[in-house]
């Protein structure tokens, strides 16, 4: 029963992450490369309640499906690289040192590493390391803001889910 409930929950989370991913595509961008990363909320929630493996699975399924629904092969490449790198970072920070990092800090670190992953793929695709340096400062500044915001939202979502009777899931 527990396994079934977990599977249903993960399916729900993936679908929500997918919807957030797609909605974000409609949002106007301030500058190229800067976006909120709403789907990261669901990654953080999965990481907190289910664990690292499940979070990585949510990220990968969300990236692949999101790129298939709205995007191209290269967008899948960017999305996967950023998502996996940020998920690895957040998983490491949460599982090893959760007493020292708040959700906001973990989310900010994830946002920064997400940018680095995307820039690495971009510099590989375009065959130049230069864009990594030109985009890094502005993207990192943006990541500080969006990471803070996403971390705050995730904090509220996690608190809400913890207080709900139907969502009986201990923090893993």
């Amino acid at each position: 029963m527990n396994e079934v409930k977990k599977m249903v929950m993960l399916a729900l989370i993936i679908s929500q992450a997918l919807v957030l991913h797609l909605i974000e595509g409609f949002m106007p961008v301030v500058a190229p490369g800067i976006k909120l990363g709403l789907a990261n909320i669901m990654t953080l929630v999965t990481l907190v309640f289910f664990g690292f493996k499940e979070a990585l699975m949510v990220v990968m399924v969300r990236s692949i499906l999101g790129s298939l629904l709205a995007g191209s092969f290269t967008s899948m490449l960017y999305s996967l690289a950023g998502g996996i790198l940020s998920c690895l970072t957040m998983g490491l920070l949460y599982i090893r040192w959760r007493n020292y990092f708040s959700i906001i800090g973990i989310s900010t670190a994830g946002a920064i590493l997400h940018n680095i992953g995307q820039l690495l793929v971009a510099s590989w695709v375009f065959g130049t390391i230069g864009i990594l340096f030109t985009y890094l400062p502005i993207l990192t500044i943006a990541a500080l803001g969006t990471g803070f915001f996403i971390g705050l939202v995730s904090n509220y979502v996690i608190k809400y889910l913890e207080s709900q009777k139907w969502f009986r899931w201990e923090r893993g």
Binding site: G25, V29, P32, G33, I34, K35, A70, G71, S72, T74, S75, Y78, S79, G82, L93, W97, N99, Y100, F101, S102, I103, I104, G105, I106, T108, A109, I112, I116, Q118, L119, A122, F126, T128, I129, G130, I131, L132, F133, T134, Y135, L136, P137, T140, I141, A143, L144, L152, N155
Partner: protein, 132 residues
Amino acid sequence: MRVPLRVGDLIVYAFAVVLIAVGLSGMYTMGISHDERKVVVEVNGREVYSCRVYKGMEPVEFRVNAGNGQYNVVLITYEGVRIKEANCPDQICVKSGFIRFSGQAIVCLPHKVVVKIISGREEVPDVDDIAS
């Protein structure tokens, strides 16, 4: 509203500051050199010569033949491009001096010669346009 920050978050922010510094210093040291430039010479709208500009290149002198014995000598170095010599009546192209950045151009109207610097990279990498 209490913002739940913890000690370790300082490490994240310190890391961010380091990244910004690395990016800015990388931008500074690589300068515009990673942004490849190309020099294009046109006579009467037709491209007759083009070459890449890169750090440590040998200076190139190119003699543009504009017909009827009209000529312009273009000097291309990493530091800049100029028309060294020409037998046009107004000598405006020679007096234009050096151009350095992509988008700049020297024009010699009597000979219908245009020397311009363009970005060697056609598409501007736009990370998120693709990633959406």
